[in-house]
């Protein structure tokens, strides 16, 4: 019983009781009238909420930040009584998407409406629930019905064309096929042979086994091009959000999608996705490692499906990891060599990770660094030391300035000032 209904009942009982006690018909009549209002209000609100169902149809289950999501929401009434107003409150988790509306439904009718919204935040969002709420004209009673939906929408980070970024190649690049067997699984399958004891099961080629009637295993060659491993730094220490004054001084000519990126975390995700796209477009094997709290590791693979896996990981990655990028690099660096090149995307102000990469170059690793300059977000984050060190680092470096945006930072001409190439150093 709500407060209003309690007070109404109290008034009705008070009137009627006082009327009986004082034997005054007016009070009794008032009591009866208020009781009638109480009863009708309850019945009306109950009738209004009964026989309702809701359905929502999405035009897509995945899109990128900056994309437009359209959905159709339908509320159907099976009641023969018309319903003057139903408040449909959409509680879907997707920011800026709200299909809420107040509707009136006729007898046994359905009301449809379409809602479109821009995906402004990456993530996986549950579409719903929807609350159908109604009450009587006096708001004495309010009834709410919850309708849950199973639909989810995944919003991937935006992907930009990083024009000035060149993916690192292998030192043996140029040969059509080096025919050098590798004990690792690579993207290049060279041949098949009969199964021998000790061969791992995941090398079995089931299609060939079916065709030949014998167990056959695949043999791999080293990829003629180097694998691209994207290392996205989602450690909590690197996360930074722009100050309001920085926000105001930001380049007004940003792309639509970039306008929704407002933290180093979003930029790391967007740039990692952009590098991944670039690698897949170049038919390079793509690996992915992140140091978010739920550490993500995707072995290198050259396929669209791998790209989607990386995007999915980036969609939900947040800067909540406890492991610094330097620690991640130290731990994973043994994985890289001249055929496997890391692309590090970070906003860390810790200079150790630069040194780690410098040391790696001594054994033929050819890293690439995309540095999201935290000082461009917040002047209090001093990144001068890192940038100075990167300026003389023996690998390719790209620096993103938040204020001017991705396009300008990576533009071949505009970005020249902030980009240094391995080859330039040599």
């Amino acid at each position: 019983m709500t407060y209003r209904s309690f007070i109404t009942a109290l008034i009705a009982a008070g009137f009627y009781g006082a009327g009986e006690g004082f034997d005054w018909p007016i009070l009794r009549q008032l009591g009866v009238a208020v009781m009638v209002v109480f009863a009708l209000a309850y019945l009306w609100s109950r009738w209004n909420i009964s026989g309702l169902s809701a359905r929502r149809d999405l035009d897509a289950s995945a899109l990128q930040v900056g994309g437009v999501l359209a959905e159709q929401l339908a509320v159907r009434s099976k009641s023969f009584l018309p319903k003057p107003w139903i408040e449909v409150r959409d509680r879907c988790a997707m920011p800026a998407h709200d299909a809420s509306r107040v509707i009136s439904i006729g007898s046994r009718a359905t009301v449809h409406w379409e809602t479109q919204s821009v995906a402004v935040k990456r993530g996986v969002f549950r579409m719903g629930p929807v609350f159908l709420r109604t009450s009587d004209p006096f708001a004495i009673f309010t009834h709410t019905r919850r309708v849950d939906f199973d639909d989810e929408v995944t919003v991937f980070p935006p992907v930009f064309d990083l024009k000035n970024v060149q993916l690192p190649g292998a030192q043996s690049s140029g040969g059509p096929h080096i025919e050098r067997r590798t004990p690792f699984t690579t993207a290049a399958v060279s041949s098949i042979r009969d199964y021998a004891a000790g061969d791992p099961f995941n090398r079995i080629s089931w299609t060939s086994s079916a065709r030949t009637g014998r167990l056959m295993v695949k043999e791999f060659d080293l990829d003629p091009t180097a694998e691209v491993w994207v290392l996205a730094d989602f450690s909590a220490t690197q996360a930074v959000r722009p100050l309001p004054e920085t926000e105001r001084s930001r380049n007004p000519g940003l792309t639509f999608a970039e306008a929704w990126l407002d933290s180093s975390e979003d930029f790391v995700a967007a740039l990692a996705a952009s590098i991944s796209r670039k690698a897949v477009d170049a038919n390079r094997a793509l690996g992915f490692i992140s140091n978010a709290s739920n550490r993500d590791f995707r072995a290198a693979e050259s396929s669209e499906r791998q790209y989607l896996r990386v995007l999915s990981a980036l969609a939900v990655a947040t800067s909540d990891g406890s492991e610094p990028i330097d620690s991640l690099l130290n731990r994973e660096m043994r994985r890289f060599d001249r055929y496997r090149s890391p692309v590090v995307v970070t906003a860390s102000t810790d200079i150790d990770w630069v040194e780690t990469l410098e040391h790696a170059t001594f054994r033929g690793v050819r890293p690439t660094v995309i540095y999201v300059d935290p000082q461009s977000f917040d002047p209090a984050r001093n990144s001068v030391a890192v940038r100075d060190r990167l300026a003389v680092a023996p690998f390719e470096v790209h620096i993103l300035d938040y204020r001017i945006g991705i396009e300008a930072s990576f533009d071949e001409l505009a970005g020249a000032a902030t980009t240094r190439s391995w080859f330039d150093v040599n």
């Binding site: 009549q29 107003w85 509306r101 107040v102 809602t115």
Partner: protein, 855 residues
């Protein structure tokens, strides 16, 4: 397409347009209704003027509430404006002419004198003179209208906005309880429609602020629907009139009784045992509407009443008519019409009962002044046949069915029962439309016709008595009455309609002046309602008792009812032993049978019951009276002091043409000898000494001085005899005060509940959460609405923007709340302390809203 919305949404504000006009018009109408009712119910006040003032006040309140005028300034303007307008409204035409004539000095002098008189009356507490009263009421109406509008349109307090004028309306109606209920119900309809309109606007504003699309017609639909529900409720409320209520209840009760009787009959028919006495309880000393013979012992030396009277008096408290084998109960409230419970009759102070003339001529008035020392549950002690009281009373009387036809123009008005005389008199004094014009007789005059309808409705509502007019064969008009009517000489009990604790009141009774010879000649032609009510006997009464009664009257040679009554009275007084602690009968035994044949030891209720039962067996209507037996004069208390131990029960016997005559079967009391001067229950009269005469010698001399015997005086028929709760002026002031007191208690209870609820709204919550809730509640009160999309800190910043002095405290409260909710490894004690400090700071900073707050 939904666009991303701004994060900060402005707080909802009332819309002055759209549905707001509907509320404004309804509010002005409801205030006008209040003004009209107050004007109509107040002498010298013009209803239309008062309605105009109240409506104008409402419109002024609306206008000022929608501006940015500070509260105090708006109130001041309104008050000054109200004084001017209320003064002008006293005699507007005179003022108009004076203004045209430029008589400024005259106008100024007049209004200065009025204002001085107004202030003087307030200072002295004297009643207002006419003009001043009109001014005061007009000013009140103006201010009530203004306040209602202000609360609604400035504060958004819809409940208090309608409750204030509604409460005043009810109090006004309570002053004239006979008046119709439609103003109250119409006001309720207005209030509900206003509530619907305000709710619609609030919702629209809420949705608009959140960018939620809504049907354009939502507001109109909601208001129309709310108004329809309100109209339906008001219609049902109007239909639910007083008599319908009682009829419904009575039908339900009678249905239940029929079922119970059916079950009982089945049970009795299947049982060979004689019926057992029913379960009555209490002893006669409680003066309740039932008692069990032999139950308990009335005792106590504490004085109940002190009486100033002409002699030792029997003080009657209650008459009981139904015997059930174990005791007595009163069923007079169910008499006359089994479908409807009879109400009590209201009498004003000193308004005499309508006693039939034939009974009056054999009785004389006797009076007594009674001071209550113990509460009696509003029960008045009376003397013999009650005639009048100095306080307003509610009298429970017997009822008789009526089914009579009177020919208009041929019936003497004195032949018509007093309750029907208004209608019959109106018909006799009015002209009818000639026969043939209509199927039933109709009065020519519309006014007379309206009056006829009003009287017929009143009869139907109050008694109920239905009345139908028809044409007789000779072309004359007949009016036929069916229903029930009160018997004013058949009184069960008299109640004070006002609080009686420690009250002093006077009662006048009619004591019998008839002789034994008169009663012997009375005969046995009893009215039907008397035999229906006062000859009842249960199945527990034994044949032995019947045989004894017949034996007694045969041995005494008693033939007439009076002689039979005297014979049985004397038999009882001489053949049984009085014992105050004599108990009741064993289970299943009839108490009279047990007393007469087994125990033969009893007290007054045994004696009186036995007399009543045996006389009823002989066909003589008899009833039991409980009250107080006569006592000696107490010089210390300067009066006759009746105590609990003086409780007594005796019998009354009905004699046609004479009414009820008392008998005393209990041997410890002096027998009542009708042939002695000053007979009846006013036993040998003694003069009441003056308060100064307190010496022993004085008393002795005064006892020896006989008082003059009162003579019977003709009794005027009451000008009005009204049903309780419907009489103009009956139960007026006391009822109003009682009602006001009850309303005040109810309001205090509601207020206490609201206060308690507000105080404990955050009980059990963590301290910082509770303080943040308090901050939000304070914000709502100040118009700083919390919104779901605001973080605590954002809300605190908004709060601080509206109340700069509270800015620091609000942020402190919000931060503490955030820390408490989301931070780990924090010191809960310091958070709570910080939060409390912030809340005090925010509260103090916001407390300056009353004087200069702008919205």
């Amino acid at each position: 397409m939904s666009q991303p919305r701004a994060r900060n949404v402005a707080p909802a504000k009332l819309s002055p347009l759209g549905e707001g006009w509907f509320i404004l018009i309804l509010g002005a109408l409801s205030s006008g209704l209040l003004g009209a009712v107050v004007g109509a119910y107040t002498a010298d006040a013009n209803p239309s003027t008062m309605a105009t003032l109240a409506s104008a006040g409402y419109l002024a309140g609306y206008t000022l509430a929608r501006t940015y005028a500070p509260d105090a300034l708006a109130h001041l303007i309104t008050f000054v404006l109200g004084i001017v307008i209320a003064l002008a409204a006293i005699e507007p035409r005179t003022l108009y002419h004076q203004l045209r004539a430029g008589e400024w000095q005259v106008i100024g002098d007049r209004y200065e004198s009025l204002l001085r008189g107004f202030i003087r009356s307030i200072d002295s507490g004297d009643n207002f003179e006419t003009d001043i009263a009109v001014f005061a009421i007009g000013l009140t109406m103006w201010l009530v209208g203004y306040t209602a509008a202000w609360m609604l349109f400035r504060r958004g307090w819809v409940f208090w906005s309608v409750a204030l004028p509604g409460g005043i309306l009810l109090v006004t109606l309570a002053l004239e309880r006979e008046q119709a209920s439609w103003p109250a119900l119409l006001y309720l309809g207005f209030a509900l429609a206003i509530a619907a309109g305000q709710t619609a606007i609030s919702r629209t504003t809420f949705w608009s602020a959140r960018g939620i699309e809504q049907p354009r017609s939502f507001g109109r639909r909601s208001i129309v629907l709310g108004t329809l529900i309100a109209a339906l409720a008001v219609g049902i409320g109007l239909y639910y009139s007083f008599d319908l209520d009682d009829r419904f209840k009575e039908r339900a009760m009678s249905s239940g009784d029929r079922v119970a009787s059916w079950v009982e009959d089945r049970f009795e028919s299947s049982s060979s045992n004689p019926p057992a006495p029913q379960d009555v309880a209490g002893n006669y000393g409680a003066f309740a509407d039932q008692f069990k013979v032999g139950d308990g012992v009335p005792s106590g030396d504490t004085p109940i009443v002190v009486v100033q009277a002409n002699g030792e008096e029997y003080l009657a408290a209650r008459r009981l008519n139904e015997y059930d084998g174990a005791g007595w109960r009163s069923t007079s409230s169910q008499a006359g019409d089994p479908t409807s419970q009879a109400p009590r009759m209201a009498f004003r102070s000193d308004q005499p009962m309508n006693i039939p003339r034939d009974q009056q001529q054999y009785r004389a008035q006797d009076d007594a002044t009674i001071t209550l020392l113990q509460p009696t549950d509003q029960l008045l002690f009376t003397i013999d046949q009650h005639y009048s009281a100095s306080v307003p009373t509610l009298v429970r009387v017997g009822w008789q069915p009526v089914d009579a036809t009177y020919t208009v123009g041929q019936t003497e008005l004195s032949e018509v029962p007093v309750d029907l005389r208004d209608l019959v008199g109106l018909l006799q004094s009015s002209d009818f439309v000639p026969p043939g014009t209509s199927a039933t007789p109709e009065l020519e005059s519309p006014q007379a016709s309206a009056q006829q309808q009003k009287l017929q409705d009143r009869l139907l509502t109050n008694y109920p008595v239905t009345s139908e007019l028809s044409w007789a064969d000779d072309g004359s008009v007949q009016v036929h009455f069916t229903g029930r009517l009160p018997v004013y000489s058949d009184i069960e009990a008299v109640y004070g309609s006002a609080e009686l604790d420690n009250a002093t009141y006077s009662v006048v009774g009619l004591v019998p002046q008839m002789t034994a010879a008169d009663l012997e000649a009375a005969g046995g032609n009893y009215p039907a309602y008397v035999t229906d009510t006062y000859l009842q006997l249960p199945g527990t009464v034994t044949q032995e008792t019947r045989d004894l009664a017949n034996q007694i009257v045969q041995q005494a040679g008693a033939v007439t009812p009076y002689d039979q009554a005297v014979a049985i009275q004397n038999y009882l007084r001489t053949n049984f032993t009085y014992q105050i602690d004599a108990g009741g009968a064993p289970d299943g035994r009839d108490i009279v049978d047990y007393f007469l044949f087994d125990s033969q030891v009893g007290r007054c209720d045994h004696y009186a019951s036995s007399m009543a039962v045996m006389l009823r067996m002989l066909g003589v209507p008899t009833r039991i009276v409980t009250g107080l037996a006569p006592v000696s004069y107490d010089s210390e208390m300067s009066g006759y002091v009746y105590r609990g131990r003086n409780a007594h029960a005796w019998a009354e016997v009905y004699f046609p043409g004479f009414g009820w005559v008392p008998f005393e079967p209990t041997p410890t009391q002096t027998a009542i000898d009708l042939d002695l001067p000053g007979n009846g229950l006013a036993a040998t009269p003694e003069p009441t000494p003056s308060p100064d005469a307190t010496t022993e010698s004085d008393q002795t001399s005064m006892v020896a001085t006989p008082s003059p015997t009162a003579t019977a005086t003709p009794m005027p028929v009451p000008a009005t005899t009204d049903i309780q709760g419907t009489s103009a002026g009956s139960n007026g002031p006391s009822g109003v005060f009682f009602g006001l007191g009850a309303a005040a208690i109810a309001l205090a209870a509601i207020g206490g509940f609201v206060f308690w609820r507000r105080r404990n709204a955050f009980a059990g919550l963590p301290p910082a959460r509770a303080n943040y809730g308090r901050l939000q509640r304070l914000g709502r009160f100040l118009g700083i609405e919390p919104a779901p999309e605001l973080t605590p800190r954002e809300y605190a910043v908004r709060f601080g923007a509206a109340k700069p002095k509270s800015a620091g405290g609000a942020i402190r409260v919000a931060d503490a709340f955030t820390q408490e909710q989301y931070a780990s490894n924090v010191d809960a004690g310091s958070i709570a302390q910080n939060s409390d400090y912030g809340w005090r700071e925010a509260k103090q900073g916001a407390s300056d809203w009353r004087l200069w707050r702008r919205r």
